[in-house]
Point group: C2
């Protein structure tokens, strides 16, 4: 295992402390229990958005804490669900009196722990469950579809609504609407290596790829021979469009997400491939995002995400955001 | 070779076309000869900043084209210098009548081709040569020190000055001052693989790293056993500080740069390690930047960069920038 770390058991803490120091104007980190909160939290009178999950997917979620997006993130150990006490502590720190919205990726451990936390929260709370991965139903760690890169889209759009003063029920309904309008699918060219394991999570042959891979290296649809970018994009856009069934003329967000080990040059090439396919289906690419936002440690590969947009969603996507990983409009 | 590409010979073009499509509000791309220009260029009355170099270092340089930074970038083939006709065409497209400033990383091929271009430009022009890599004097491709991640710092700060209306001579002097105030050093845990080569540029043992590596995989100071993050950071910060000799109390920019294959989690851990060392030397970390900005395709590893700041440089660093890869203040 070749990683820039000290002791395996301190990876998360040292990384979070570095993150907090590098972005001290935006966030603060608490330990025991661990959470990352907006530096200006609690924001009085606003619904507080809290997300979280296993670490190793950075910048998701802590990188999206800040103005116009999340109020707190609860990072678990690498690929391990955070515990309910983290969420309860985070909620206590960021509760602005207008309720707590929990945004949860659909993994059985995350769902269970966020449910336990929800039962322990004293005030109003609601949950949005994200399950945008169209690759497979049921998988390692998950019953139903997995929550992947579309989670960031939910967090951005609902975060904008909360910042604008939307009430808890409206934020929840909006989150569910965005989730329904969003589909993703990924492909892995290499495995990731969890620091505490020290060896690759799975093995791929020199000419193989995992089509439909999950963001922890879970199996996807099938293991196949490495294909060209155009063919990979075609299978992924095809699967996403089969799920979303966007009518011709629908404005969409096209998000190309790197898994951590893939250079930007390849991500833009994949964008080029995916955009051609969207155009061929009559979709209007109204907004784009290319970069490594929902990663799987050092895995090489990428995912494509489409969100069906409308004027309201475009306006919320465009609203100012100021977080460590996503920033525009201020 | 496992890459998300179609034909090897089309990688650059397809990637640039994807880049231009994803950021059509900010940039436009021209082919034959190839350059990327600000969508609103030429900007009348402002010095036009042009940089360029081999591709494979994205987002450097094309990702820094936009308001407050570069006016154009000239991407060569992967790890291959751009040609003078690219620079001349770019200059023709972005010349706002106040002169052209060429920002060149110190590699013999880049220097030669930018010099040829400078001789062909009809109007006023000047050059800033960046050589921030403190690892080695003379190396593969280079006489003298190499230009690496500090180039982005030069481009940001001089770009802000040009946007504010600074004249050509002042921009050049500022660029040279920032270069003098900047030192970088890198470490590789794995090689990169150039698409057209198909095999890794160099070979590292499972427990080896290349200390002082260049951004094309050039040899550094020495090949040693993989060390812990703290020890790696100590050698790099030590070498940089030996070169910059910052007095105690000096405000600095600390930039942790990923080489393309290293997860953000490790980069923040390296930031944590480097920040402790800066504090121990009495340096004040006034500004921070963590992310993969000057990459080497899929190489795992990172570089550290320090720039000695003062009030003027902090103000220029903080000035609004709106490019595909760097954005704040608007």
């Amino acid at each position: 295992m070749k990683k820039l770390i000290n002791a395996v058991e301190n990876v998360l803490r040292e990384s979070l402390d570095g993150f907090a120091a590098a972005h001290a104007d935006l966030v603060r980190v608490a330990h025991d229990p661990t959470y990352v909160a907006r530096a200006d939290a609690p924001v009085r009178g606003k619904v507080a958005l809290i997300s979280g999950g296993g670490s190793g997917h950075e910048p998701l979620h802590a990188g999206f804490v800040g103005h116009g997006m999340l109020h707190a993130a609860c990072p678990g150990e690498v690929f391990t669900s955070p515990t309910p006490d983290q969420m309860v502590a985070a909620a206590g720190a960021v509760d602005g009196g207008a309720g707590i919205l929990l945004i949860v990726k659909n993994y059985s451990g995350d769902v269970m722990n966020f449910e336990m936390a929800a039962e322990m929260l004293p005030g109003a709370q609601a949950t949005v469950l994200v399950n945008d991965d169209v690759a497979v139903e049921d998988s390692t760690y998950t019953t139903g579809r997995r929550g992947v890169a579309g989670t960031m889209v939910v967090e951005k759009i609902v975060g904008a609504a909360a910042e604008a003063g939307a009430e808890l029920a409206a934020c929840q309904a909006l989150g569910e609407r965005v989730n329904q309008a969003t589909g993703s699918m990924g492909v892995a060219l290499t495995s990731c290596t969890v620091p505490a394991a020290g060896t690759p999570t799975f093995t791929l042959g020199a000419d193989e790829m995992e089509m439909g891979v999950g963001i922890h290296g879970e199996p996807g649809r099938r293991r196949v021979r490495l294909a060209q970018a155009d063919a990979i994009a075609e299978e992924m856009i095809g699967a996403i469009c089969q799920s979303l069934a966007p009518a011709r003329g629908t404005p969409v967000l096209l998000h190309v997400n790197g898994f951590g080990g893939t250079p930007l040059m390849e991500l833009y090439l994949m964008y080029h491939a995916a955009a051609k396919l969207c155009a061929a289906r009559g979709l209007e690419i109204a907004r784009s995002l290319v970069g490594s936002y929902t990663t799987s440690l050092d895995m090489a590969g990428c995912s494509l995400t489409l969100t069906r947009l409308d004027d309201e969603l475009i306006s919320l996507w465009d609203a100012p955001v100021h977080t460590p990983a996503l920033r525009w409009g201020r």
